[in-house]
């Protein structure tokens, strides 16, 4: 009817008295629409966070509802920061995080690059590659214990087949040196497709014209790769690393089913350690302090990273 230009800012209703005659005002609708969500998030995320902070300053134990609860101030934080077990689990988490990110980025980007060559049937094969990441991590961890069994498992058998090593001579989840790699392998199996998808989106977003211009300038394929492909995919890659990083920092279900944190505590990631403190030893106050420290760490790291990511995006 009317010839509105597209430069109008979104959804500013006609001002003045006409608004009130159109049912609920925009403001009311906005609050009505956002309200329940914010309420639910406050109830299930913020209120508990505040409660956790409060708990972290006490020596409360959730299994002793009859016992007295004392205020202990920052003592829990002190104990956590000086506890060698906590540092051990931070180390285990760091090892897991770094190696999964490195492998997933390398393999994911490589796969995306190959798929981008648009060979016949790549839709089908892409769908197949994507399947592992849609599964329940706990269930995946559980069935990989079967695959990793030294004598009857598929994994050892395939390794033996390819390398001639005796299949019962090594145990991926029983050996202190191999277990950290066992969890890295399973996580990489599961989540490389995720990184691949993001890189693929990134590769597809590079307009052909840039490559054509480079060809005109007689730039070699190699040079094109390093000066066009990689920089333009970098923001996407960094996004993938951000998401995978946050997820793997929180990692619990896959590893707890696969190794239970063992052997010893070599794969006891921070979430597993936290679960032990909170729900097996029932040291609720102590565990709450631990949770606060973890949250602050991941929040801090993520914020720094997001700032860097935004800078790269703007380039």
């Amino acid at each position: 009817m009317t010839d509105e230009t597209t430069s109008r800012s979104p959804a500013v209703a006609p001002a003045g008295f006409a608004r009130k005659y159109r049912g609920l005002s925009d403001r009311a609708v906005a609050w009505l629409f956002i309200g329940p969500s914010i309420f639910l998030l406050l109830a299930i995320n913020i209120f508990p966070l505040i409660w956790t902070i409060r708990l972290s300053l006490t020596n409360y134990r959730a299994n002793r509802t009859n016992a007295d609860v004392d205020w202990v101030g920052l003592r829990n934080y002190e104990r956590i920061l000086t506890d060698p077990d906590i540092w051990n689990s931070m180390q285990a988490t760091a090892h897991f995080l770094i190696w999964t990110l490195v492998l997933q980025v390398l393999i994911g980007f490589g796969l995306a690059y190959l798929i981008n060559k648009k060979f016949k049937g790549n839709d089908l094969w892409t769908t197949i590659i994507v399947l592992p990441m849609m599964l329940s991590p706990a269930v995946v961890g559980n069935f990989w214990t079967f695959l990793y069994q030294p004598q009857i498992g598929l994994f050892n058998y395939v390794v033996a087949f390819l390398s001639g090593v005796d299949p019962s001579s090594f145990s991926m989840i029983g050996d202190v040196n191999l277990a950290p790699w066992a969890i890295v392998i399973v996580d990489t199996w599961m989540w490389t497709p995720f990184v691949m998808l993001i890189c693929l989106a990134g590769l597809r977003s590079i307009p052909d014209s840039i490559y054509e211009a480079a060809e005109c300038d007689r730039a070699s394929r190699w040079r094109q790769f390093w000066t066009i492909t990689v920089p333009m995919t970098l923001p996407f890659l960094m996004l993938a690393v951000l998401f995978r990083g946050i997820e793997n920092f929180k990692m619990f279900d896959l590893v707890v089913q696969l190794t239970g944190g063992g052997p010893g505590s070599i794969t006891e990631l921070t979430s597993i350690n936290l679960k032990r403190e909170a729900f097996e030893k029932w040291r609720t106050g102590y565990a709450s302090a631990y949770a606060v420290i973890l949250f602050v760490t991941v929040f801090g790291l993520a914020s720094i990273y997001v700032k860097a990511l935004n800078k790269v995006k703007e380039r």
Binding site: D26, S37, T126, M134, A291
Partner: protein, 311 residues
């Protein structure tokens, strides 16, 4: 050779294709192995070298859905010969079926809690996303980041106060409690995704409607919503996949009544290493998700990255 400089050569395509196919086959092997194990007998499942060719049986599935008791030979004589095909399978081991297992219930709980929380989070998410998209909400960017940051907490950490809260409110081990919890966790995903989808719907349609005399609410309902259906469908499926696969909250906050399948499946192994039953349980649990993945593959990227990457 090639017609465009950016089109890969035939050779490049074949090499790329070959490598990708190899990777796909390698990566699907573990999954195929588990599905196959569901159809083996327990002895075949733990055979060494691993059996690629085997005689399929439904023993794993029978064990998955039943509880059995061992009986003495005399008692077995009294009961008489097995009648149905599943009785026969179980009788091989001197056992008799004594009732259904809990797997069916747990699967059903996953369905109820999964779909319930998905419906709620998509419903609330659509409303909130619309508001964020169309209105000048104060502190909009901060609120959006707050919503995203709720996903940064390790679930175990969140579970500590939630455990206490649920205990107080009597929501421990209830369907309602789990639905509320999953809804809250999924809200971050659904608000971000739906905002992205709704942002893409041109504002002009609503403005036209408003000018025609529709209320804001009617404009939302009659104009925007129909256009957002694909976005809503994609979001719904991603929320469902999260709720379906979730383990940490389920294992800590549920027990006999509301326990979903992920905490239950590892316990199917029982005392005697019944891997075929575990594999059977795993396979059945994967089926809905695999179906969704195949149906949904075009929208995959959007959903998994919170709409951060657009096609």
């Amino acid at each position: 050779m090639s017609f465009s400089v950016t089109e890969p050569s035939r050779l490049q395509k074949s090499v790329a294709g070959a490598l990708v196919v190899i990777y796909a086959l390698v990566t699907i092997m573990p999954l195929a192995w588990i599905i196959a194990t569901g159809f083996k007998s327990p002895n075949d499942a733990i055979a060494y070298p691993p059996k690629v060719v085997f005689e399929p049986t439904l023993e794993g599935y029978v064990n998955l859905f039943t509880t059995r008791t061992r009986m003495s030979p005399d008692a077995l004589e009294e009961i008489g010969p097995p009648e149905t095909w599943y009785d026969k399978i179980v009788r091989q081991y001197d056992m008799v079926i004594s009732g259904p297992s809990r797997y069916g219930e747990r699967f059903l709980n996953s369905v109820i809690i999964g779909f319930g929380s998905t419906f709620l989070s998509v419903f609330l998410g659509t409303l909130a996303a619309y508001a964020f998209s169309r209105f000048k909400v104060p502190l909009k960017d901060d609120l959006m980041f707050f919503i995203l940051s709720t996903r940064m907490m390790p679930p175990i950490a969140v579970a500590i106060p939630i455990f206490l809260m649920f205990r107080q409110l009597g929501l421990s081990d209830t369907h309602l409690g789990m639905i509320l919890l999953y809804t809250a966790v999924n809200l971050s995903l659904s608000v971000w995704l739906l905002k992205g989808f709704i942002d893409e719907i041109p504002v002009e349609y609503e403005e036209a409607a408003l000018i025609d005399g529709y209320t804001r609410f009617q404009a939302f309902y009659k104009v925007v919503l129909p256009q957002a259906t694909t976005g809503i469908a994609s979001t719904a499926i991603f929320c469902l996949i999260f709720a379906w696969n979730e383990y940490a909250f389920a294992v800590l906050l549920t027990s006999g009544t509301a326990q979903t399948a992920p905490p239950f499946i590892p316990t199917i192994i029982g005392v005697g290493k019944d891997w075929p039953a575990v594999a059977a349980g795993t396979t059945l649990f994967l089926v809905p998700v695999m179906v969704f993945t195949i149906l949904l593959r075009k929208h995959l990227l959007r959903g998994i990255t919170f709409g951060a990457v657009r096609k």
